[in-house]
C-alpha cells in the first residue's frame, strides 16, 4: 500500500471514529470534559498526606490542561480508537467498523490518558511484535508504566498489561530457545513487582490505589443512583458494548495457542473488571481489544478503504454529524474552556470551609471550578479509600440528605437512618447539590439550617446557617432571589458569584432550581425563550407553582395560571416526551393542579347562579379538558366569569395577546361583579409583574385591594397575595 493510500485510509477510519465518538456525548450532552479526573485528597487535613495522588497534578499547568474542549477529546479518542484498530488484525471492514462503534460507545474523556498508556504498552505484547524483547522494549515498558504512574490513578491496569507482555514473552522465548534469552523480561517483571511492593508499603495510599480496580469489583452491586459509587453502575448501552467486545474477543481467540495462557488470564481479569464495574468499562474494552489482537495473521496497519466505502462512510458520518450538531449545544462543543464559564465563581469565599458534594462523582468538576481557595472536600470519588461500613453509612446519609430526612428513623435492616449523626460528625459548611436534584433542593431550601448561596446550571450551593462569612453571602443571595421574584426597583443586588445562567440548557436547569425553591416568577425570568420540551416543562412548572400558591394563599383558583399550565401540560402529554422523568413530572403537575383545585371551594365552579352548561364549561377549563369547552358565543352572555375564562383560554390557545386588553377593559365596567373585577385586577397585576412592568403591576394590585375594600368583599384571604406582592415591590 502506498503511503498516500495509507494516510487516506487512516483519515477515513478516523473520521468514522470521530462520528462514533460524538454519538457517545449524546448520552451526557452536558458532560464536563476532563482528560483525567483530578483527584486530590480531601478526607481529613491530618491525613492529607496519607493518600496517593496523581503526582503531576501538583503542577498547575498540568492541572489546568486537564479540562479540554469536547472537540479535542473527541478527536483524541478517535485517534486512539484508530490506533487500537491498527493493532488489531481484523481483515473485514465490517468487523473494523463494529470495533470502532464499540470502542467509541465505551469511551469517556477521563480515560483517554489511560487508553494512551495502554496503547503504548500494547506495542510490547509478544503476539503483536515479531521482534524479541530488547532494551528498546524494556524502555517502552518502563515509559508506559512511569507515564501511567505520573498521570493516572489507574496505573494498575497498565502495569498488568506490561507484566502480561513480559511473562508471555518469557514463556514463548523459553519454549522456543532457552532460559537465558528471557533475562530482560525477568528483570522487567522483578523490577516492576519489586517497586510496586516497596511503594505499597512505603508510600501511604499507593497500595490502595494499586488495588483500586479490585476494590471497585468488590463493591460493585452496592451502588445507588446518588451513591458515591455511581460510576460503578452499568447502563444498558454499557452492557451491549461489553457483550460486543466479548464476542469480538471470542472470535479472535481462535488464533490463540497454548503458549498464550498469560494473555488469556489477563483477558479474563479485564473481562471481570468490565463486567462488574462501569468505571473500568472503557479500560477493559480497550485492553481486551488490544490483548486479543493476534500476531498469527498478517496485520494490515490500516486497511485501505475503497472509494465507495470511503464515500459511504463519510456520508453516514456527515448525516450523524448533522444530527449530533442539532442535539448537542455547539457552543459547548466548540468552546475552549466551557466549564468555567458555566459555573458560578465562589473564589471570593475566603474562610476555611468544608464542602460536601452530594454527588461525589462531580469531584473533578469541583476541582476544575473556581472554588473557594480554602475549601476542603469531605467526601470525594476515591472509592478505594472507603471501608464497606463507611461506604454504606455514607450512601445512606446521602440518600437521606437528598430526601430531607434529618432525624433518626428505622431502616429495613433495623439500623438507624437520618442524617443527623453523620452530618454532625462531618459538619459541612457548604453543600453542593446537583441542579437537577429538585426534591433535595426543595427540602434543603425549606430547612432553616441551610441557605442557597449560589446557583448555576450544574450545581446549587447551600451554606450552613451560622457561619459568619457564609451568612453575609446568604443575605446577598436572598436579596437576589427575592429581586428575581419581585423586582423591587429599590433593591440593590449582586449577581456575580451568586447566579450563573451559563448556556441555554443551563438556564433551563437554573429555572428548575428556582421553581424547586418555589420562586416561579424568578424561574420565568431566567428561562430562555426557546421551543424545547425542557423549557416547556419548566414553564409549566412555574405556572403550576403560581396556581398552587394562589390556591393555598388566596383561597381561589388562579384561572390565568391554571389555564396556562394546563395548556402546556396537555401539549407536553400529546408530544409524548421521550424522557420518563419529564412524563412523570408532567403527570405530577397535573395531579397537583387537580388537588389545588379540589382543595378549595372555588368561585369558578361553586357559583349558585349559573346553569349546568356554564358549570360544565368552567369545570372543563379548570381540569384542562379544553376540547369540551364550547365557544364563547355559545355560552351564557350574562355569565361573566365563564365568558372571561373562555376569553383567556381562546386568547392563550391562539397566542393572541388581545385577550389581555379585552379583560382589561372589563375591569373598568362597574356592572361587573366586584369579586370578578378584583380577580381580573389581580391577574393583570400578576401579568405585569411577570413582564417586569412594576409600576403597572403596583397599580393593578392596588386596584384589586381597593375593590375589595370598597365593595366590602368578605374574603380577606383573596387579597393576601396582592398585599404580599405590593409589600415586596414597594418596600
Amino acid at each position: 500500500m502506498t503511503r498516500r493510500r495509507k494516510r487516506s485510509a487512516a483519515i477515513g477510519w478516523w473520521l468514522i471514529a470521530v462520528t462514533a465518538c460524538c454519538v457517545r456525548l449524546l448520552q451526557s450532552p452536558e458532560s464536563d470534559v476532563f482528560l483525567i479526573e483530578p483527584a486530590t485528597v480531601y478526607a481529613d487535613p491530618s491525613e492529607s498526606e496519607a493518600t496517593w495522588d496523581i503526582p503531576l497534578i501538583r503542577l498547575n499547568a498540568f492541572e489546568e490542561g486537564l479540562i479540554v474542549p469536547e472537540w479535542f477529546a473527541v478527536a483524541l479518542a478517535a485517534a486512539l480508537v484508530v490506533s487500537m484498530l491498527n493493532r488489531s488484525s481484523n481483515k473485514e471492514r465490517i468487523g473494523s467498523i463494529i470495533l470502532i462503534i464499540l470502542l467509541a460507545a465505551a469511551w469517556t474523556p477521563d480515560h483517554l490518558l489511560t487508553w494512551f498508556w495502554l496503547v503504548l504498552s500494547a506495542r510490547i505484547l509478544p503476539f503483536q511484535t515479531e521482534s524479541p524483547w530488547t532494551w528498546k522494549t524494556t524502555l517502552l515498558a518502563t515509559a508506559s508504566i512511569v507515564g501511567a504512574l505520573l498521570t493516572t490513578l489507574d496505573f494498575a491496569v497498565v502495569i498488568l498489561l506490561t507484566l502480561t507482555a513480559a511473562i508471555d514473552s518469557t514463556l514463548q522465548q523459553r519454549k522456543a530457545t532457552n532460559a537465558e534469552s528471557s533475562t530482560n523480561q525477568l528483570v522487567c517483571i522483578c523490577f516492576t513487582s519489586g517497586v510496586c511492593l516497596v511503594a505499597a508499603f512505603s508510600l501511604n495510599g499507593f497500595g490502595e490505589t494499586l488495588l483500586r480496580p479490585l476494590t471497585a469489583i468488590s463493591t460493585a452491586g452496592t451502588d445507588t443512583p446518588y451513591s458515591i459509587l455511581q460510576r460503578v453502575s452499568h447502563s444498558l448501552l454499557d452492557s451491549l458494548v461489553l457483550a460486543g467486545i466479548v464476542l469480538v474477543v471470542l472470535n479472535r481467540l481462535q488464533n490463540f495457542r497454548d503458549t498464550d495462557k498469560p494473555a488469556v488470564i489477563t483477558m479474563v481479569v479485564f473481562l471481570a473488571l468490565g463486567l462488574l464495574c462501569r468505571a473500568y468499562l472503557p479500560i477493559a474494552a480497550a485492553a481486551l481489544v488490544l490483548v486479543s489482537a493476534s500476531k498469527r495473521e498478517k496485520r494490515p496497519a490500516a486497511e485501505p478503504l475503497r472509494r465507495k466505502h470511503f464515500l459511504t462512510g463519510l456520508s453516514v458520518a456527515a448525516v450523524i454529524g448533522i444530527l449530533v450538531a442539532q442535539m448537542l449545544p455547539l457552543q459547548s462543543l466548540l468552546s475552549s474552556d466551557p466549564l468555567k464559564q458555566r459555573l458560578v465563581d465562589l473564589s471570593s469565599l475566603k474562610s476555611e470551609i468544608t464542602v460536601l458534594l452530594t454527588n461525589p462523582k462531580t469531584t473533578p468538576r469541583w476541582k476544575a471550578s473556581i472554588a473557594p481557595p480554602n475549601a476542603r472536600l469531605i467526601v470525594d470519588n476515591r472509592w478505594e479509600r472507603f471501608t464497606t461500613t463507611e461506604l454504606e453509612t455514607t450512601q445512606q446519609a446521602f440518600a437521606d440528605l437528598l430526601r430531607g430526612r434529618r432525624e433518626k428513623y428505622l431502616l429495613a435492616n433495623t439500623k438507624g437512618g437520618g442524617t443527623r449523626d453523620w452530618m454532625g460528625d462531618q459538619n459541612p459548611d457548604l453543600l453542593v447539590v446537583e441542579s437537577d436534584q429538585w426534591t433535595a433542593i426543595r427540602q434543603l431550601s425549606l430547612d432553616p439550617g441551610w441557605n442557597v448561596i449560589a446557583i448555576d446550571g450544574l450545581r446549587t450551593v447551600f451554606a450552613a446557617a451560622g457561619h459568619p462569612e457564609l451568612d453575609i453571602r446568604a443575605q446577598e443571595a436572598n436579596r437576589l432571589w427575592f429581586f428575581l421574584e419581585w423586582p423591587n426597583p429599590r433593591s440593590r443586588v449582586q449577581v456575580e458569584g451568586i447566579l450563573e445562567p451559563g448556556l441555554e440548557a443551563d438556564s433551563i436547569r437554573v429555572a428548575g432550581v428556582l421553581n424547586a425553591m418555589r420562586l416561579p416568577y424568578a424561574a420565568l425570568r431566567v428561562l430562555p425563550d426557546v421551543d424545547s420540551v425542557e423549557s416547556d416543562v419548566q414553564r409549566a412548572w412555574s405556572y403550576t407553582e403560581l396556581a398552587i400558591r394562589c390556591a393555598r394563599q388566596n383561597g381561589h383558583t388562579s384561572i390565568l395560571d391554571v389555564i396556562r399550565a394546563r395548556l402546556l401540560l396537555n401539549r407536553l402529554q400529546s408530544r409524548n416526551t421521550p424522557l420518563q422523568s419529564h412524563r412523570q413530572h408532567v403527570a405530577r403537575m397535573q395531579e397537583a393542579l387537580n388537588q389545588a383545585i379540589a382543595l378549595i371551594p372555588n368561585r369558578a365552579t361553586n357559583d349558585q347562579e349559573i346553569g349546568a352548561q356554564s358549570a360544565q364549561t368552567r369545570q372543563s377549563i379548570l381540569l384542562g379538558h379544553f376540547e369540551k369547552v364550547s365557544d364563547r358565543k355559545d355560552s351564557d352572555p350574562a355569565d361573566e366569569r365563564t365568558q372571561m375564562m373562555i376569553s383567556i383560554l381562546q386568547g392563550l390557545q391562539q397566542n393572541d395577546s388581545a385577550w389581555v386588553e379585552t379583560i382589561q377593559k372589563r375591569t373598568n365596567l362597574f356592572d361587573l361583579k366586584a369579586d370578578l373585577r378584583q380577580e381580573i385586577s389581580f391577574y393583570l397585576g400578576c401579568l405585569s409583574l411577570e413582564n417586569r412592568d412594576i409600576s403597572t403591576a403596583e397599580r393593578h394590585f392596588q386596584q384589586a385591594m381597593l375593590i375589595a375594600s370598597d365593595e366590602n368583599l368578605e374574603a380577606p384571604t383573596s387579597i393576601t397575595l396582592c398585599r404580599l406582592y405590593l409589600q415586596q415591590l414597594t418596600q
Binding site: 445507588t224 451513591s227 452492557s239 466479548v246 426543595r442 378549595i600
Partner: protein
Amino acid sequence: MNEYVRPFSLILCAVIVWLGISTAINMARARQSNPLETESIPTPAANAVESGWADESTCIDCHDQAEDFGRTGHARTLTTASDDVSWSALRQLSQSKIGDTERVSVARTLSGKILAQRIPGGGTKAQIPLDWCFGSGAHARTWVTTLTDSLGQTDLLEFRWTWYQHSQDFDLTPGQPDQCGAGHLPQFGLQFDGARAWRCFACHSTRLPSKAGQLSFEKMHPGVTCQNCHGPRQAHVASNGLSRNPAWEFKDRDQQVARCAECHRDSAEQKPETIRHGNPDIARFQPIGLSRSMCFLKSDMSCTTCHNVHRPMSSQFPRRISQCTQCHDSEASHQTSCSAGMMDRCIDCHMPALDTGRGLEFVDHWIRIPDEQDGQQ
C-alpha cells in the same frame, strides 16, 4: 485451540445470562436515576418496604398480647378524620370557646368528608378538608390536611386547633402561632414540607409506602401496631411461628430504648442547653430524661421494665408505684427505700408531671429525688 472452545462456550453462555440479568437491573435502575425519584435505595425505611407484611388480625391466633393491644394508645395513634372517635372530638370545636373566638367550625358532608370552615369577618367562608387525626386521645388529638406539591410530594397542613384530653376542650396546637396566619391555608394552621410530613406519618403508622415523597395512603397501615416493633412478619405467620428474624430482636436494652427513641426522641435531637431535669420542653421526650436517670444508669432497666407496651396505659400503674418496688422495696433491708416514708405514689414525687404548655402534662422520666437540682443523687 480446542481446549479453549469448551471454557469459552461456557463464558459466552455466562455472558448472555449476565446480559439478561443486567438488562433487567438496568431497566429498574433507569427508573431510579430519575431526579424526581429520590425515594429509593440504598436501604429503605423499615415501614416503606413493599412486601413481607402479615395480616395483623392473625397475631391474636397465637399471641395473647394481641388481645388488649388494640386498646393501647399506640394502636390508635392515627385514624382518619372521619373516624367516629375523631369526629366525636372534632364536633366539639364549634361549641368550644376558641372555636367561637377564632370563628372556626367543622362539618361532615354526606359522603363523610370532614371540612373545617372559618368565617373570619362574617360572609364568605373559607374551608379545607381534614384528612387524618393524630393522637390516641390519651393526651390530645390533632388533625391534618394532606397536600400534593408540584413535585408530587405529600405536604401537610397541621390544624391550628387541638383537642386536649385533660380539659376535654379545644385550644391551640403546640407550636402554632398565637395569631391566625394570613392567607387561605395559613389561617387554618402551619404547613409542613414533604420530609416533615413523612416523619409525622412515619411515627404514627406501621406501614407507610411512599414513592418519590408521595405517601401511599391506600397502602398505609395507621397506628403503631405489632409489625412496627417486630418487623414484617409474613414469613413468621406462613411458617406457623418457626421463622424468626434476629435483626428485629433486641440484643440489649440500649437497642430497645433506641427503638422507642426513634419516635419518642433522644438527646441528639435537642439542643444541649435544653437538657436539664425539670425542663417541661423535654418532658414529653421520655428517653432523654430516662437515659440520664440514676435508676437507668445504675441498673438494667429499660422502657419495658415499667411499661407493658402490649396493654393500655389505663390498665397499668394502679397505685402509681410503677415498678419501683423491684429495686426500692421498703421491706427489703438491702434496698434503698423512700426517705420520706412513702409506700406508694412514687412517681408523684420522683417523676412529677410537668405542664408542657396548653395544660398538656407529661410525666417527667428523669427519675430523681425532688429538689436535687444537679441531677445527681
